[in-house]
Symmetry: none
Subunit: 220 residues, 4 copies
DNA sequence: GATGAATGAGAATTCATTCAT
DNA sequence: GATGAATGAATTCTCATTCAT
């Protein structure tokens, strides 16, 4: 009984702490999604209803907090991407896979701002990105093998385009909420193989946005 | 005589002041292009070889300085765009017109950051953007009338795509300097009319990126 | 029976508590000896494997913890000094007595820092210091009565010199580990009575470093 | 006339700034001398009657301010030492030279604390220390050549002893203002060559407190 | 009794903007 | 008109101490 009580106590404590942690992360997600990474930790603390020191106890650095928020988004992205990759029709699968990637930028100012910054190169995030990349790659390969998309387009190309569209979508979300969808469609429409003209540069090698694999080498 | 002297004095001062102003703008252009809008005014002052107060005499607010720098870039953009629009071959004209638009983002961190922010909505900049838009619109119309680009693509669509590509190009310039060129080509390749599928949303109305004018209404 | 159980419970807890207390003191000794008194309580708690609150339960204030750590060192010092004072040869006895006093500063950054601060004036520490002083005094008297050390040198003088040498020894331990030993020897070499010149000031009365007692008055 | 006015203006400005700088340094000297280097910059700012930002404008880092304060003391020390080194009687010269060195520690808590810390290794301070060392060395050599001080004592030994005595003198200044003077005399009394016993360790090599030179090598 | 969590009170530092010369 | 100086208002981060479990 005593043990149980003790465990309960510990559990409760942890539960409390985790609730607080959740509140911090939620508040941070909201604040940074709305105001970008320049929002002050104090703002987050206020929205979370805690003191700033509480936040710094969990996240030694503001960057750690930002990274945690981004990771959280990416964890959701991994799930969404996996689900999308399971769509049977290859074309639909690729479109959906890429759509969720665009959405993550559109919906979160912090994520959009973080494109190409050191925050995107943190190990944990890299792992999540790798999972997303794997799904995307599979989806792209299926479509290219089905001959529905020009073969010289690489995953990096597509990922970059999605990030790009997502970023401006985010920035213009208030003024023109669906403008980015048109862009997205235009890009996808134009991926058909029959209109492929030789692409100028060498395929992009970018760990952040879809690495090239051996299978790519043969194509280049 | 005294008046003349006074005027001379004032003229001299004005000449000096204008030279100072030029130096400030040049320095600010460089600094903000490299470091983004978060670079301090003091940094700009140092590079310009003037005191900070001198900058604030000309630009009451840092935002005013930022706006002036962006305007300067856009003044150059207007010229470049006009020249590009005069290219005979409609396809080449459009490509070049759009290319200079992409370049402005790639080359300038401040401009890339400013996409969709209030800085882009300042009246003076709006006017310059309108001029650019006019050229772009003309270029697009020519190509569409020549049947080389799908007719349902609007100027806003294209401008958004260029801004998007320019932004990621800017962000990834260090890691993958030419990645954005591939994206740019992919998008242009895909604009052919034969592959057009109906675009989902209504055409975008966005003053910042290619406004539709009354004359456009008939086209929609 | 219930009482006994309760007492057992308390006893068990006390045993636990005392083990905890020991671990805290050990950890604190190490941490403060290495990093000085500015080391955080959290650091101590971590090294001790306890929570910070546990520390504050035993030591209401960080200063109390610091004092306890210093006291612990001085308890050891009392022992070492007593043992040294028992050395037969008066000269050797004094040297050894003083050497252990120097060592306490050299080996412990906290103790070195605390010289002359309120931490050194706490009652409990005073008592320990008194014991040390008694031994030192005896050792000094023996040597002076043997005519091996100039008679006008007081215990306070010597204690001050040892603290001084110990302090710089501590500070320069990394750069010149044995520099203080030379200083120590130079001082002791110079204590011979044949070279005594009249000392300028009145004998120092310093409770912290060798107090004069009533019995001393007759000597002055 | 206009030029003169302009120059006057500039001069006044500079004068004002310099006066402020002087006030900052004076305030900092006082505060740090009394409270040690842990006193907050805000405290200094308050005593100087300026904002903290003003201080940080001149001294980018608190350490820079501390270093400046110490340098200031050492500049005075250089002067005092030079003057002392010119005393004819070698013994008096050495005593006076060393006395001013002790005094700098006694009178300034910051300087006393800084012994052996990185603050003492800053290049500018090193230069000043070198000048002091040169004077001290000369003074020591004179006395040793006159046979008045044991030849195996090095400058580093003496400097260390002076720093040591100065430190405890500083710490005990309130309780026993002149206690350190007795210590100082005891040490000097004991430097006579006739009582020299072989010193145990090798001569200390310590840039901070009197480097060994070639002439020392022959002695070791 | 023990503990991890929470926090208020600082601390250093930065920067856009205003002032005095 | 130009300038360096001054500063108030933030911002990130730390830490001794208190609280809730």
């Amino acid at each position: 009984m005593i043990d149980m009580d003790a465990e309960k106590g510990i559990d409760n404590l942890r539960a409390d702490a985790q609730r607080n942690l959740a509140r911090i992360l939620t508040a941070a997600s909201e604040v940074f999604a709305e105001q970008g990474g320049e929002a002050s930790v104090a703002t987050v603390a206020e929205r979370a209803g805690v003191g700033t020191a509480t936040i710094f106890r969990r996240f030694p650095t503001k960057d750690d907090l930002l990274a945690a928020v981004i990771e959280r988004r990416f964890r959701q992205l991994v799930e969404d991407t996996r689900r999308a990759a399971e769509i049977e029709q290859p074309g639909d699968a690729l479109r959906q896979v890429m759509l969720v990637s665009v959405a993550i930028y559109v919906e979160d100012r912090l994520v959009a701002e973080a494109i190409g910054t050191p925050l995107f190169r943190r190990p944990r995030l890299r792992e999540l990105q790798a999972e997303v990349t794997a799904c995307k790659e599979q989806a792209l390969r299926r479509v290219q093998e089905a001959g529905e998309v020009r073969p010289d387009v690489t995953l990096a190309d597509l990922s970059l385009l999605m990030a790009a569209i997502g970023f401006v979508g985010q920035r213009l979300d208030a003024d023109a909420p669906d403008a980015w969808r048109r862009c997205y469609h235009i890009v996808f429409d134009g991926l058909r193989p029959e209109i492929a003209r030789p692409l100028s540069g060498a395929p992009v090698v970018l760990k952040q946005f879809g690495a090239r694999h051996d299978s790519d080498a043969s194509r280049s």
